[in-house]
Symmetry: C2
Subunit: 371 residues, 2 copies
């Protein structure tokens, strides 16, 4: 609905709108690519963050081996748009979906995770029927308490999938909750426990007389910890490309690469009282599952929840004036992934927020792809 | 992405998916229409809930005078699809947007809210330039603390807009927060205070020698209170059409119409451990701003936050078995409006959830329309 076009000033962007600072994003992409290269690790960024084939292509051009997605429908959309190395880092057990997985494996390099015997059997049946081939990672629970087999079961599951004619590609080992532990020591402690799970799983796999080709996992909050362990061979960070208020609230690990905020919601003050400025961006414009946005460049303002379509800005102690009626206010979303998923388009600008120029409209190709 | 077609069984719906029980929705639509008619009140349901021209048309066919929307872009989309009486119950102060408002007023019956002199002046300029006509409601803050002028300022603002050549249509008086106060006495108390604000505003308007043609407002949680006040002439409830877990948690007002859950997220267990069943629906499938979903028909299960793409079901005391790997689980979203806004399509079924038949696919026409 936003009628903005490349070449126009960012000041002309109708509000609310999701805006990407392309300069900052490019630096983030380069920073993690260089880090992975120096560490001798493969980088497979998670595309669930941006759901955009164009951004995935930027990451691959910078050295990523491909991308992760969380859902089959995301993989189908990205493959349709030219991304040809995709890992569905999640479980699929529905037979109709698995038939689509097997079909997709005929038109791109594909991998998927499993954590159950049922999942292995149904996947194997689908792949046999389609006569296709894909890599299969055994997901183990490394402390999150969500998906994943027990580490001790990894050997039996790996053996089972090989017996069923599938290719064992390694271990999926991702600790989602640990990404958001605020202290670096807490995050390090969580990944040490995750590493113990990986070692246990590797022993279980070796006891079947099998090797473990690769351990893949890690996110923006902990990848330096996985890298330091020497166990993980591939990093899956996704949010680094944009960063968000929640990740910025983490106390950084000493020496870790630094990423910049590259994703913003441009909003406008539509109502004003002595004690508040109400902007036109609520939680239909930015996701609040990881808390409310911060106000870019205005630490003296607090964003209060105004419901689906509003945010209520109030002064903190020491605040100067509230923004005026009609003024633009740039927000840093609490959580980038589900914020992007609310929008059909991201507006890419260069040259800063208020005075920047729109360079391109970036389609959120896999928006709403939850199946 | 969901390949389901009318005539197929609901059991075939790929997950996660947003599903509407059309039988329950039709009863909800009829129940509120009958209530409004008996009370002698106009009904203008809020289309921000469903963002669907087809559902808006059902509401109008049942007696609604038109619909409310919260954003100009929603109004444009619904007008394009044949809805011809729309009230933008929100402030617009951007001149480029106001030019679109004035243009839209040429192709449907339109009204809008204002709460500032700047808003009046810019709206008047846009309407003059387009030579169009629309109704203008003065929004007053009735206790929410978000948008709205002070009640005491309503007279001056009404006079100002008439002086600027606009048509004063009445007062927009909506208390959003009060909808979700759990106790009926709390809700009644909040609307009594809101009614005092309305009376104060009416006095201020009368002191300018003007009449107040209509007071519009009220939501699903409080409309019986606004109706009982004798002040409001038009009700704007929206969520009643679907209901959600949050509204169902309200202690009902004695004698108030009862609405049924009509909106569900169908999910599937994709990972299973002894202590948990992990479903494939997280907060990219349902909004969690008003809390997590409940599990339909399974009060013995608790839905835990599993992040963007997962929910973690655990037993409550006295629970029977957890659902099995591959089993379908139907969720009642915490908040219907932002949940609908995550999906491009709602799947309308009749005949119950598991055994129902798909009757129609309902486009979420104004999905993502936040500008």
């Amino acid at each position: 609905m936003n009628g903005i076009r490349p070449g126009q000033s960012a000041a002309k962007i109708d509000t609310p709108a999701l805006v990407v600072d392309l300069d900052a994003m490019a630096r983030n992409v380069a920073t993690l690519a260089e880090y992975a290269q120096k560490q001798g690790l493969r980088l497979r960024p998670h595309a669930k963050t941006h759901k955009s084939a164009w951004i995935a292509a930027q990451q691959i051009a910078a050295g990523a081996v491909g991308v992760c997605v969380q859902k089959l429908s995301e993989a189908e959309v990205l493959a349709d748009r030219g991304i040809n190395d995709i890992f569905i880092s999640n479980e699929v057990v529905d037979s109709a979906k698995l038939a689509r997985v097997a079909a997709l494996a005929q038109r791109c390099r594909l991998a998927i995770a499993v954590d159950s015997v049922l999942g292995v059997e149904r996947l194997a049946a689908a792949v046999r029927a389609a006569r296709s081939e894909l890599g299969v990672f055994v997901e183990i629970d490394v402390g999150h308490g969500r998906c994943g087999a027990r580490a001790s079961e990894a050997g039996a599951l790996a053996q089972r999938l090989v017996d069923a004619g599938l290719r064992f590609a390694g271990l999926q080992a991702y600790h989602g909750r640990a990404q958001h532990f605020r202290g670096s020591a807490e995050r390090q402690g969580a990944i040490e426990l995750a590493a113990a799970c990986v070692r246990e799983a590797q022993v279980a796999i070796a006891s079947q007389g099998m090797g473990c080709p690769l351990v893949t996992g890690a996110g923006t909050g902990t990848f330096v910890n996985e890298a330091a362990s020497g166990l993980w061979g591939e990093l899956q960070a996704g949010s680094y490309v944009f960063m968000d208020r929640d990740y910025a609230d983490n106390v950084p690990t000493a020496g870790a690469p630094v990423f910049e905020h590259a994703l913003f919601v441009k909003s406008q003050v539509v109502s004003r009282a002595d004690d508040r400025a109400v902007v036109d961006a609520g939680h239909k414009s930015h996701a609040i599952d990881s808390g409310l946005p911060s106000v870019w460049g205005r630490t003296d303002l607090e964003f209060g929840n105004g419901g689906d379509e509003h945010g209520i800005l109030r002064r903190r102690d020491g605040a100067a004036d509230l923004p005026a009626l009609g003024e633009a206010v740039w927000l840093v979303p609490g959580h980038c992934d589900p914020t992007v998923n609310l929008h059909d388009t991201m507006i890419g600008i260069r040259g800063g927020l208020d005075r920047g120029i729109v360079e391109r409209l970036i389609a959120v190709d896999a928006r709403g792809c939850v199946t």
